[in-house]
Symmetry: C2
Subunit: 327 residues, 2 copies
Amino acid sequence: MQAIPEAQLLRLEDTREKVNMALEALIQREIDKGSGEVAKLSGEILLSGGKRLRPLLGIFCYEASGGQDIDEIMDLAIAFELIHTATLIHDDINDAAKLRRGIMTLHERIGQPKAIIAGDWLFVQGYGLSGRYTKECIDLIREACANIAVSEFKQLDHVLDLSTSPEDYLQIVRGKTAGPFSAVCESAAIIAGATPEQSKALGRFGMELGIAFQLMDDLLDLRGDERMGKLRGKDIIEGKMTLPLIHALTLLHGKRRQRLSEILNNFSDNLWDELMTLLDTSDSIHYSECLMHTHLERAIQELDSLPETNSKRLLLNIVEKMQTREN
Amino acid sequence: MQAIPEAQLLRLEDTREKVNMALEALIQREIDKGSGEVAKLSGEILLSGGKRLRPLLGIFCYEASGGQDIDEIMDLAIAFELIHTATLIHDDINDAAKLRRGIMTLHERIGQPKAIIAGDWLFVQGYGLSGRYTKECIDLIREACANIAVSEFKQLDHVLDLSTSPEDYLQIVRGKTAGPFSAVCESAAIIAGATPEQSKALGRFGMELGIAFQLMDDLLDLRGDERMGKLRGKDIIEGKMTLPLIHALTLLHGKRRQRLSEILNNFSDNLWDELMTLLDTSDSIHYSECLMHTHLERAIQELDSLPETNSKRLLLNIVEKMQTREN
């Protein structure tokens, strides 16, 4: 991949800033309208950080497909951020998580009842923004949102299920993480007036990128990532079957598999070294990294038919940074 | 009000049946598409009963405004039932309710994490159905849904707040209950091609009816209502400030007010007689009944400009039955 000129990186930061401003404006408008505390508290979570990856993908896919007016795509772009934040709030309740992006989770601060409602409110705001687009786009968003719920159900069923297969895993990831990536990319292309083939290619781009994103997320859970404010081993403690664990459980046998099961069922910090040694034996970290690269390569291929534009280069830049999770 | 001929009552039952069939078809379609357990469990709650009041209002407002094709309005009609059921599931979690419509609540059966997600899923399905309509309708639905959240926040803030005013109360009721009634009526009229004046009149009709509905709900909480599978005094136990209580707290003073506060703060079944005597002293039940009738009369007035059709008579019939909550 080519290095990206400084001017284009500035354009990325500039676009992120526009997204943040649009989100702030929405919250302020709602507060002004008298929505009060629910808008204020939801806004605090929404505006407390986040890479705005979904909105950026939407905007750059729109522009790479020939879209000219950022105002035309901004509502769709931020809709996905609002819906994403809504699911984070509900997930945090269900995971009984204490921290998110390094700050106290909403339900810890204001109690569960209000946190559930705040999630619902953000969801409504996000979904409502989709109303200005065509039925085709709204259906894509609905499909993606419904699949988040379907996949989260499946994920709950697989908590501490040591027989979870890589196929189960990918089905969950496609619904929970990659589906919304795909929906924002495909609907942005449709709004820009792309051909059906081109829109579908960008939908697949989003799906591949989203799978890679989740694979990286799984790896970061094992490595720890202070920057993201995410506790190391959060997934393990919650019994989430991430790909490195599934892979190791598939390959290891006898006493080693037995020991890995015990570790996963009763994890504590003093077991880190032993866990990582077992994952090393089965080469599971490496396997996940390779698979991530496969999906990133596939994502890049889906961009092949796009003309060479600055926005395409920014999409490629997002793919590239995914490998280090700098996005 | 005139008695309604038998044939028209059959039409009401027939329409309710069509609504039920549309809801069943949606759930079945989702199960067939592979949505699995979340569709199955959400469907069970959705199809476990309910008067389908919101869909019926939508359909009859559409027809009374000149709409001819029930298929054109059915998605909107059932969207409101799906959204309503989603809020019931989240409310039940927040209220730690054990029973709904006489059966075990979803979170009691399948645990809170899945119940939160099931609510989200139903919400997505409902909201998604609105996608075939115009932006104007989608905005009305968004506004109504956002206001549910805003009002529920306010309601939580007023739990056991004995200084809650009738104005606070009405603001909560307008957002939480009456707003969705108003939105379904107004958007149905718009879809039927009604004039803006006529659509707004039906929106006001829904608002007035919704306020009356909540006032009746408050009264039923004090009277108990076996048919609805609702426990007598559920609101009191949850600290919800219903209008009869607010009215009594406003009028009573000295020792009586003090005693009422004590009862509300530590309610138990052996205090029923004493509570009802206090409410009787301030004539608070009667006051709520009178106010309910005022709002029902206002609802009827909003229908004045509609031509005399069967659907208008069915709307009037719904208003009439509201007084006995037979709907």
